[in-house]
């Protein structure tokens, strides 16, 4: 396995006295895609929010390149090289497409190199075409591309995605997963939270099944053909 970029060690998150994530440990290596699947309420989104510092971790640690980032505010974690594509896309619908992308620059550390906006436009040409339009006028699939593009202009080392295929038409879902394949080629490390188990298992280097805030099972790409195993993992 490549050297781990992102590590969770015994992560615990609680809402009041209700545990949402219980002792979760996992690693994402350089250039890997790691999937995180599981039923609603399994603690997947909470895990991502805890990595970003948007909810406090009760115990355990979050490490980036071996250095703890636990307890830092979200904007500092973003600027340390972790970008989140949040659930529901969370684009700024009153802003233009280009303004949304420029907001992504807020999390960028490097100040040199290729124009990051152009890189996003190369990946998603439709964003370039509509760059002067209001983002709210885009279709759902295009908005998802914008959300991913906005995360990419920060040129992150780690990309966290929270259910990027949620609410999209089948064709748009395929486009999202195709984009993730292309992003992997750029050596971006990806932690992908998804409901579409088959798609995810097929794409990811490893896919962890989360239930009740705990890691239940780990699947490899070879398991993609074995639907029964995936279904059994959900029901376990």
């Amino acid at each position: 396995m490549p050297e781990p970029v992102l590590e969770l060690q015994g992560l615990e998150v609680r809402y009041g006295s209700v545990p949402a994530v219980r002792g979760l440990s996992l690693e994402v290596g350089n250039g890997e895609i790691v999937g995180l699947i599981g039923p609603n309420g399994a603690g997947k989104s909470t895990t991502l929010h805890a990595i970003m510092g948007a909810v406090p971790a009760h115990a355990g640690d979050v490490r980036l390149h071996g250095r703890s980032i636990r307890g830092r505010p979200p904007e500092r974690i973003a600027r340390a090289g972790v970008a989140l594509v949040p659930e529901g896309r969370r684009i700024f619908s009153d802003f233009t497409v280009e303004e949304n992308l420029r907001l992504g620059l807020a999390g960028r550390r490097k100040r040199n190199g290729a124009d990051p906006l152009q890189q996003a436009y190369d990946l998603f040409p439709v964003l370039h075409e509509f760059r002067r339009r209001s983002a709210g006028a885009l279709s759902g699939g295009q908005q998802q591309q914008l959300a991913i593009g906005r995360a990419l202009v920060a040129e992150p080392e780690v990309l966290l995605l929270d259910e990027p295929s949620l609410g999209l038409a089948p064709m748009a879902v395929d486009a999202v997963f195709e984009a993730l394949r292309q992003i992997r080629e750029r050596e971006v490390t990806i932690l992908l939270v998804e409901q579409r188990a088959l798609h995810t298992v097929a794409l990811a280097d490893r896919t962890h099944v989360l239930a009740g805030g705990e890691l239940r099972l780990t699947l490899g790409p070879a398991d993609a053909a074995n639907k029964d195993k995936i279904i059994a993992a959900y029901l376990a």
């Binding site: 904007e75 009153d94 802003f95 907001l103 807020a106 709210g136 920060a154």
Partner: protein, 302 residues
């Protein structure tokens, strides 16, 4: 009954009041947008600026005015650091009542400072030359009326450019639209908040300059009533967007200017009731704000 008062002087004065209230609305709306805090003590920033102008009346105008800006910005920043920041995330009621307390605190301090010479009120005279009237096209108009309207327009245009053309402006608009997501994207929210607080201080100082020309007598409750009216105006206009809040401020300023210009008769004494009756009616019909016409895709949050 309002028609009777439709002479040019009254209308231009009402427009000037509307312009000043629009500036105050922007100052209040900016802070609300980013912090979700209705700052009741905004009027005391203006009051502090007005006292600064009064105490520096003997100075050259530029020195007096820049001291006013410096003092108001400093108090504005101090408010953010000592009051707003610890209150972040608290319920609106707690934040509002705390700013009441700050308003009363600043007023009480002003009263003690003011009473050193044993009578209440100080006079700001350094730029009262603007109060003279000039004749434009056969009608008399006070210079300050023109200055107020001009200054408001310039300030609003500059602000719009700042918010739409600069990175910090983009970040500010993003924090106002969705604070949480802006943070997740790496927007340094404390910097944005400081920027917002300074901007609202700048606007308060500008309002202090204009108001002291119109009303040179400064007392501890200076701008208190104006602030209350503007708070009503911004909510009626729609506090969720800056431009609707600004329009709300202008509208209520214009309306109260017209009411004040109306000759007192048996009926006009009830004009405030009419105005506030309209306020209630508007809120019942459009609780999100008079000017919030749905979520139009092209609407820029300026």
């Amino acid at each position: 009954m309002i028609v009777a008062a439709l002479d040019f002087q009254t209308v231009s004065d009402a427009v000037a009041t509307g312009a000043v209230y629009a500036l105050m609305a922007v100052g209040i709306g900016l802070v609300f947008g980013v912090l979700r805090l209705v700052n009741f003590s905004y009027g005391q920033l203006i009051m502090a600026g007005a006292y600064t102008l009064a105490f520096t009346s003997g100075w050259p105008v530029w020195a007096s005015v820049s001291t006013c800006f410096a003092v108001v910005i400093a108090i504005s920043l101090a408010m953010e650091l000592t009051v707003f920041r610890p209150l972040r995330g608290q319920s609106p009621a707690v934040m509002l009542v705390t700013t009441f307390a700050i308003a009363f605190l600043l007023q009480a301090v002003a009263l003690i400072v003011d009473l050193r010479n044993d009578f209440i009120g100080e006079v700001a005279t350094s730029i009262s030359a603007l109060n003279e009237a000039i004749t434009v096209g056969g009608v008399e108009i006070r210079k300050v009326t023109i200055v107020a309207i001009g200054a408001a327009i310039v300030a609003l245009v500059l602000l719009a450019l700042l918010l739409t053309r600069t990175t910090i402006g983009l970040h500010t608009r993003a924090a106002a639209a969705d604070f949480r997501t802006a943070r997740l994207l790496g927007v340094r929210v404390n910097r944005v908040i400081m920027f917002t607080v300074v901007l609202s201080g700048v606007l308060a100082a500008a309002v202090a300059v204009i108001l002291t020309v119109q009303v040179p007598l400064v007392s501890p409750d200076f701008a208190l009533h104006d602030t209350i009216i503007v708070l009503v105006g911004v909510v009626v206009g729609g506090l969720d967007r800056l431009w609707t809040a600004t329009l709300g401020g202008f509208a209520i300023g214009f309306a109260s200017g017209m009411i004040n210009g109306a000759l007192p008769t048996d009926n006009t004494v009830y004009l405030p009731s009419v105005l506030f009756g309209i306020v209630i009616l508007v809120l019942l019909l459009r609780p999100a704000g008079l000017f919030s016409w749905g979520r139009r895709a092209s609407a820029e949050r300026v």
